[in-house]
């Protein structure tokens, strides 16, 4: 079945093969929702769990994400047509003073791969910018920091969201090399993910979806 082939293409990072496989499935009458769920999201779930287990690494994740993005650009118009909702809306960024983005980019890709709609604010994102990016549809604010010296910015962002009256209707997820569950608990974050592989899983858990 084509969906299996699509699954393999995405999991192995074969972006070139993806558009054709999707077109073939659409022509065969497979629903866009099923193509997305069984052919693409499940593939990214596998890659995510392989990453968590230490079976694949950053390069393999990136090419799988690239294949996923190639697939999404072909499938998106069909998903919109069929009114297939995303799993949730995430605003993500690396905190102020911190310019590191590979980890954050991987998380964004894995969240997209899981079916979330992601707004990536980039790096060196001030608390004000996080607040401004949140709208009525935002479910999760996700923050990344690589350094012990920039990690405290996460607390400032939570403060800013609280002051803006937004904290209670959002879930806050944090991650990055120095970040720990202890720190997450300290600042009142809702979830902590140690790596990009587990991030999508945690996001679904924290929203009670998927």
């Amino acid at each position: 079945m084509g969906v299996e082939k699509l699954f393999e293409a995405i999991a192995s990072g074969n972006a070139g093969a993806v558009p054709e496989l999707i077109e073939a499935e659409l022509e065969a009458g497979t629903s866009p929702g099923l193509i997305l769920k069984d052919g693409m999201i499940s593939a990214m779930e596998l890659v995510g769990s392989q990453f968590e287990q230490g079976e694949v690494y950053v390069p393999e994740m990136l090419i799988a994400a690239r294949a996923m993005q190639a697939g999404l650009s072909v499938l998106k118009p069909h998903l919109i047509e069929e009114d297939i909702p995303d799993l949730g809306r995430v605003v993500i960024g690396t905190v102020q003073g911190d310019l590191h983005d590979i980890g954050k980019n991987l998380v964004a890709m894995m969240l997209e791969g899981a079916g979330f709609e992601v707004l990536d604010l980039g790096t060196d994102v001030s608390p004000v910018k996080f607040v401004e990016a949140v709208d009525d549809n935002t479910d999760i604010v996700a923050m990344s920091a690589l350094l012990t010296t920039t990690m405290p910015q996460m607390d400032h962002v939570i403060e800013a969201l609280t002051e803006a009256g937004l904290r209670n209707r959002l879930k806050i997820m944090i991650g990055g090399a120095p970040v720990t569950q202890v720190y997450a608990d300290q600042i009142g974050a809702d979830a902590f993910a140690p790596d990009a592989g587990s991030a999508a899983r945690m996001a679904k858990q924290v929203l009670g979806v998927g």
Binding site: G13, G54, V56, Y57, V58, P59, E60, L62, I63, R66, Q96, G97, L99, H100, D101, I102, G103, N105, D124, L147, T148, T149, T150, Q153, A177, P178, P194, D195
Partner: protein
């Protein structure tokens, strides 16, 4: 026993009079300018300007009185850097930027900025071959790189200190990532080994020429060669062991062999932080003598296990205290307890130079540093 003898004894897997101590002796055992100023004040040393020795990391260029008070056994030979700092600082919007000899541009946020980070990479484009036609590689035969080396090396030798010389640029993998941009670099490792091989080979060649020249000119004045390459993150390697062994290991092997040929008997220090354990046997195989920094908070970097498994073949330079954890956010009491434990694990039979398990960052309280140092001093005697 002077400092140099102490360090060399330890590096030859014997117990010297006391465990040697390093701070600022290598490119990776530094202290951020912010922490340096705080610590000088705390130690009652006269106020001196804290200048960065390394622009990217903002490590302080320590004054000699600081190193003497702390009884540091190692001295770093200052070499002119090609990375990050050759050209003038510019102001671009909310950032300070600098472009270096590799045509890499770095930037630091003006607000709350602590370091320069990678911004623009000269090979962050599709047409690598085209760019190579116009690209000027830094020239390792330029006397500019060697003019200022001999005097500080001789001075450090005369003071009886162990002398460390840094490499030309950072590791081949890191420099490759900076030349290509992180995204393309990781993608290359998955899908374009041709580009990766070409650029890595070029970097090995440049670095080997530098080492041959530098070690020749300094003729016996250098005790330790400071190489580096970052391959691991906090919880895992960034690339698969297979990728490392296929693409990078042969090149590391070639480079390390060239270094040892240029200076037989010299000790090879490799910085490779994070969860690097799966590759340690490979490092031993290709001639690494000293591993740094033994990042305690990273996965599987347990000092007791590492000493047991690799202590015969490898020296550990670092691992004294968890800089990400206890040293930054613990109490002095917690710092003391951890330092004792780590020393007990790593010191037996020599092969250990004490340093924090990574850089002393700006937010490390001076009280914690002092707790670390005092505990080290109290227990560093081998007799």
């Amino acid at each position: 026993m002077n400092s140099r003898e102490r360090v060399l004894t330890a590096l030859n897997h014997k117990e010297p009079d006391r465990i040697p101590y390093d701070l600022c002796g290598t490119a990776q055992t530094g202290i951020h300018v912010g922490a340096y100023s705080n610590l000088r004040r705390h130690l009652g040393l006269p106020s001196r300007e804290a200048n960065p020795r390394n622009l990217l990391s903002q490590f302080a260029d320590p004054h000699e009185d600081f190193l003497e008070v702390l009884k540091v056994d190692v001295r770093h030979v200052p070499r002119r850097s090609t990375i990050g700092e050759t050209y003038e600082q510019r102001e671009e919007g909310n950032y300070w930027t600098r472009t270096d000899q590799w045509a890499i541009t770095w930037r630091m946020p003006k607000t709350n900025g602590l370091y320069y980070d990678l911004w623009l990479s000269p090979f962050d484009l599709d047409d690598v071959a085209g760019r190579l036609n116009t690209y000027q590689w830094p020239d390792p035969t330029d006397p500019w790189h060697y003019e200022l080396l001999r005097e500080p090396a001789q001075k450090a030798r005369d003071k009886g200190k162990a002398v460390v010389l840094q490499g030309f640029t950072a590791g081949i993998l890191e420099t490759y990532a900076w030349l290509r941009g992180y995204h393309r670099y990781f993608m290359d490792l998955a899908t374009d080994h041709k580009t990766a091989s070409y650029l890595l080979d070029k970097l090995v060649e440049i670095k080997a020429v530098y080492w041959q020249r530098a070690l020749g000119e300094l003729d016996g004045l250098v005790d330790i060669v400071n190489e580096t390459d970052d391959i691991a993150a906090q919880h895992a390697l960034m690339i698969s062991p297979d990728t490392y062994r296929t693409l990078i290991k042969p090149r590391h092997q070639k480079l390390f062999a060239a270094i040892k040929k240029a200076a037989p008997g010299i000790k090879l220090f490799l910085h490779s932080c994070g969860a690097i354990r799966p590759l340690i046997p490979d490092f031993v195989e290709i001639g690494v003598d000293i591993l740094n920094p033994i990042q305690l908070g990273a996965k599987d970097m347990n000092p007791v296990e590492l000493k047991r498994e690799f202590g015969r073949d490898l020296c550990f330079w670092g691992g004294g205290v968890d800089a990400q954890g206890v040293l930054t956010s613990g109490t002095p009491k917690q710092v003391r307890e951890q330092v004792r434990k780590n020393m007990d694990a790593l010191a037996p039979s020599g092969g250990f130079v004490f340093a924090a398990d990574h850089v002393i960052q700006a937010n490390v309280p001076p009280e914690n540093f002092v707790a670390m140092w005092e505990t080290f001093r109290e227990h560093s005697s081998y007799s």
